[in-house]
């Protein structure tokens, strides 16, 4: 081995070593550019914040507990993906912490929830268009923000179990949720965790919840209900008719409402939509004696809009049923009659007139022939 070959070998060894280090560095560095996972900050923060007695007093006089239960954090959806304290508490990076600048507990919540936008920007933006954001803009400090519905340290899937959604809304809308629980939908949810019945968010939306008292919401309501009630497969499961929406659309009320929806959605119209007769949060099965549309109560329900209606009036409503001899004999016979009378008149007129035209033309041609 000459010194020259030796030097050359050393050179190549060094070169290979450097290359290996560079390549391995690339592998190490690229995942390291994301934050290191693990629960180190949690552990670190909980050395103090794991103390249940830790608290401070805010300028408002409220006692703010600074305790964070480890159990809450461990079951939170964020822990599983390694999102830690400072992801949200991004104003705290050192110890001792800077002084708390909030006057009240609510002020603190209204500030911290904004960090949700960092990751959940789409849902965050939706809430900014919601009825709740409008209430907040109007000065209602209690209008809910992300953490009011989802929790803070203990964020869990919001729909496990499904009834949790309605319970969450019930924290503020308690009376409505109590009414809902008595309804055919709510009872099925509360008692059986029924997977099909609507919960609050099914009808009202999730993050961009809109004011349900507007004319736009009103005229869109039949379609909202039709989302389930025109679904044959779903309705068959509960022995309900899936024709209700189609028949409603052809009814006096339904035609009015669909015209207003298509053309003047911002103009209020009184023609009945589903909830006017069936109730809103208190919808009950037609067979339920306390249902607004139970035959016993139907006339009173009609009288909400038609105050002078007499007892025969309820039969003027075909009740979402297709035309049948048993239920709607007058309609049945009129329908049968015109089913043949209209084409009969049309064809007699057309055939008679065409024959006349042919005959008269032939006559005229013959007469003019020399």
């Amino acid at each position: 081995m000459t010194p020259r070959t030796f030097h050359r070998q050393v050179f190549w060894l060094i070169a290979a070593g450097v290359t290996a280090v560079v390549i391995s560095l690339l592998f190490v560095v690229s995942p390291a550019s994301a934050k290191p996972t693990g629960q180190e900050t949690v552990k670190y923060c909980l050395t103090c914040h794991g103390d249940p007695t830790l608290s401070t007093t805010l300028p408002s006089g409220e006692t703010l507990s600074l305790y964070v239960a480890e159990d809450d954090l461990r079951h939170s959806v964020h822990s599983a993906v390694g999102i830690e304290c400072e992801a949200c508490h991004n104003d705290i990076s050192e110890y001792p912490h800077p002084a708390i600048k909030f006057q009240t507990k609510r002020e603190l919540s209204l500030s911290y929830y904004q960090t949700c936008e960092k990751c959940h920007s789409s849902n965050y933006q939706k809430t900014q268009d919601s009825m709740h954001a409008q209430a907040a803009a109007a000065g209602n400090q209690n209008a809910p923000v992300c953490t009011d519905c989802h929790g803070a340290h203990d964020i869990r899937p919001p729909d496990e179990p499904r009834s949790l959604i309605s319970e969450t809304c019930g924290q503020c809308h308690s009376q409505i949720v109590e009414t809902y629980k008595q309804s055919v939908h709510g009872a099925a949810l509360m008692n059986d965790e029924n997977p099909d019945v609507p919960v609050c968010t099914t009808c009202h939306g999730v993050h961009n919840i809109q004011d349900p008292r507007t004319s736009q919401f009103r005229v869109a309501e039949p379609e909202l209900c039709a989302g389930c009630h025109a679904n044959k497969e779903l309705m068959d499961k509960y022995g309900l008719s899936s024709d209700v929406y189609d028949i409603y659309k052809r009814s006096w009320h339904g035609v009015d409402v669909s015209v207003y929806k298509a053309r003047w959605p911002t103009i209020w119209h009184d023609s009945a939509v589903c909830s006017d007769c069936h109730g809103i949060h208190d919808i009950r099965s037609t067979g339920d004696p306390s249902s607004m549309v139970n035959p016993k109560n139907l006339l009173n329900t009609c009288r909400q809009c038609h105050p002078s209606a007499g007892p025969n009036w309820t039969d003027a409503w075909t009740g979402h049923n297709p035309i049948s001899l048993e239920r709607t004999p007058f309609l049945f016979y009129v329908d049968k009659f015109y089913g043949s009378f209209t084409p009969f008149v049309l064809w007699v007129c057309v055939i008679y007139v065409v024959l006349q035209i042919i005959r008269n033309t032939v006559d005229r041609v013959r007469r003019n022939r020399p």
Partner: protein, 236 residues
């Protein structure tokens, strides 16, 4: 009923004309025509809302109410015409002077059969008609019953609460369907049957002028012509 009226001047022998409709009858027809036209023009767009012409007409809620009010006004006019017509029939009946020319007879069936044979080239001659031929009688009675159905069903859906105070509730949706469908039947009938017979087959304006010429009478109402001329001819 005045039979014939011979117009002649010493200078030139003008054509004889025959009075076919009295002034009252012509007014009835004119108002019937006007009200049915307005009713169809304001009713059909409400039935067929999806057409763009309907959407133009019913452009705003205010315009919908306006159209409905015009429809109701025309309905009142038509009702007055109908009441006058029925009242006139009663008066003439009480005087035992209702001519009854428009009542359907067996002869009309025979005429219709004859006409169909003629139209199918099975006969060479047309039937000879009296004062009103069977086509005109069909026109009268179809419009008569159509207007009756439209009027009754229209009143029921205009005043449903009052109607159900003495009628079963089921008549309301039935009236709505009947009103909506019968209107189309009537429109088809007038547009095809009536317009053909009075404008296309021949221009027959006697409902407006009140008169038919001697030639027309002889051609289209031969029996009536013979009856009238025979009578007056004997008188001469």
């Amino acid at each position: 009923m005045s039979g014939t009226q011979a117009k002649s001047t010493p200078l030139a022998r003008q054509e004889r004309t025959f009075l076919r409709f009295t002034l009252g009858q012509r007014w009835e027809h004119a108002l019937l025509f006007l009200s049915i036209l307005v009713l169809l023009l304001t009713g059909l767009p409400q039935k067929y809302r999806e057409f763009s012409i309907s959407q133009d007409l019913l452009a705003t809620p205010d315009q919908v109410y306006l159209i409905q009010n015009i429809h109701h006004a025309a309905a009142i006019l038509l009702s007055l015409v109908v009441l006058y017509h029925l009242g006139r029939i009663l008066v003439l009946m009480s005087r035992r002077s209702l001519p009854g020319d428009l009542l359907p007879t067996m002869q009309d069936l025979r005429d219709a059969g004859h006409m169909i044979q003629y139209l199918l080239f099975l006969r060479k001659d047309k039937p000879k008609f009296g004062r009103y031929n069977f086509e005109q009688k069909v026109t009268y009675w179809v419009v008569f019953f159509s207007v009756a159905i439209m009027g009754i069903s229209g009143l029921i859906i205009w005043f449903p609460i009052q109607a159900t105070s003495f009628l079963p509730g089921g008549v309301v949706p039935a009236a709505k369907l009947a009103h909506s469908t019968e209107s189309v039947v009537l429109a088809i009938f007038i547009l095809i049957w009536h317009i053909y017979h009075v404008h296309i087959e021949r221009l027959n304006l006697s409902m407006f002028t009140g008169r038919l010429s001697e030639d027309e009478m002889r051609t289209y109402h031969e029996k009536e012509y013979e009856r009238l001329v025979g009578q007056s001819g004997e008188k001469k």
